[in-house]
């Protein structure tokens, strides 16, 4: 493995762009805001690149910056996002042909960004709860409760959609 501080910015950008954008979009559910978050993530990452020691896991490091940046942007634009989400939800529910729409996606939309952040770090970066707590400087109990709440919402989907649908 190549030492992180020795990688050049272009290389890091090339290999992480897609993941950063998708992470931001997963949290924000808005293309323009996801673009802003992606832009800000790389600006922050490049600024602090020389502070990363060689053992740091660059994937996790950049993903964490992306989730934090997306959460900041979410908080700044909360009202706008809530309005757009309401509009989309109303339209899809009013359309009888959209009844079969993937309900899990709607449930993921309802999960707060802080819980999505934990889901990303747990399932995409495969970090343990303790590692997530250390990384985000929050208590282990907070991590556990956020995971529990996120899971609860997703399990509700299981019940609504039926086990077979979820497993599809």
């Amino acid at each position: 493995m190549v030492e992180i501080s020795r990688l050049n910015e272009k290389e890091i950008y090339e290999s992480h762009f897609e993941k950063v954008y998708k992470t931001a979009y997963f949290i924000l559910k808005n293309e323009e805001l996801a673009k802003d978050a992606t832009h800000d993530t790389f600006i922050k990452a490049f600024k602090h690149l020389n502070k990363i020691n060689q053992h740091a896991r660059i994937n996790t490091w950049i993903t964490t910056i992306a989730t934090r940046t997306a959460i900041d942007i979410y908080n700044k634009n909360k009202k706008q996002i809530a309005y757009e989400f309401k509009e989309e939800n109303y339209l899809s529910k009013s359309d009888e042909f959209n009844v079969e729409i993937d309900e899990l996606e709607n449930y993921l939309d309802n999960i707060p960004p802080e819980q999505k952040q934990i889901l990303i770090l747990k399932y995409m970066e495969e970090l343990t709860e303790k590692e997530i707590a250390n990384l985000l400087s929050i208590k282990l109990g907070t991590v556990k409760s956020r995971i529990f709440r996120a899971k609860q919402k997703l399990y509700e989907q299981y019940t609504l959609g039926g086990e077979n649908r979820v497993g599809e």
Binding site: R6, L7, N8, Y13, V166
Partner: protein, 227 residues
């Protein structure tokens, strides 16, 4: 317990699927790179330091004037100047040749074998360290160039070869050279090759060691990645 694990697995699959299904807008990656790529800024001199710099500049002007009236002449002869310039150019040329020819078998092995970081540190040290003025200058170089410069050619299976280098000393009081390098790039196993010009700038000290070097590689990387 088993059910729990299955549910956990399903959750993971769903989150992964959800993220994987997100589509990145076409052209966004290229467009955004122009906005986020780091620009090396020149250091601004703090205004508080300016009076000290002015004083030092005056002293720097007065001392040679004072020495000029002494009964000896220490000015370098034209041949001294030529030799010095040759030494300076030799240093830059060696670094550029080492950086832009390759990747050689050893470097390919280092990247493909997933070896320890020590191997690539050693690789850089052997080829570049002696040409730099100090550790900071050397580290700045290997952070951006050195072995990591060859990542894109290795990943795209290209070989680089320096065809020609032109140097031009700037009018600066510091020892600064502009350079342009004709680099031939060729896909491994292909007969076809192309040439791209890479330019840059190097700043040296009095001992002909590099204090800073900038190699503009964007056009070369774009050309390789377009092919």
């Amino acid at each position: 317990m088993l059910e729990n694990n299955q549910n956990e697995q399903r959750l993971k699959e769903h989150v992964t699927k959800e993220i994987d299904s997100i589509r990145v807008p076409t052209g966004l990656k290229e467009e955004m790179w122009t906005q986020v790529q780091p620009v090396r800024k020149k250091r601004r001199i703090p205004s508080k330091v300016l009076p000290y710099i002015a004083t030092l500049a005056c002293v720097a002007v007065l001392i040679p004037l004072g020495l000029a009236v002494l009964p000896f002449n220490s000015e370098p002869t034209p041949s001294d100047v030529v030799t010095t310039q040759e030494e300076q150019i030799k240093t830059i040329e060696t670094v550029l040749q080492n950086a832009l020819n390759g990747p050689d078998a050893e470097l390919k092995q280092i990247f493909n074998r997933d070896t320890s970081i020590e191997d690539s540190i050693q690789y850089d040290k052997e080829r570049f360290k002696e040409y730099f003025a100090n550790d900071t200058a050397y580290m700045e170089f290997v952070n951006s160039y050195g072995a990591v410069l060859m990542i894109i050619p290795i990943r795209n299976e290209y070989t680089l070869q320096v065809k020609d280098i032109k140097f031009e000393k700037t009018d600066s009081k510091e020892i600064i050279y502009n350079f342009s390098v004709e680099v031939l790039y060729q896909k491994e196993g292909s007969e076809k090759s192309d040439v791209e010009v890479v330019d840059g700038q190097a700043n040296l000290n009095e001992d002909h060691k590099i204090e800073r070097i900038l190699i503009r590689l964007n056009d070369l990387w774009n050309a390789i990645e377009k092919n």
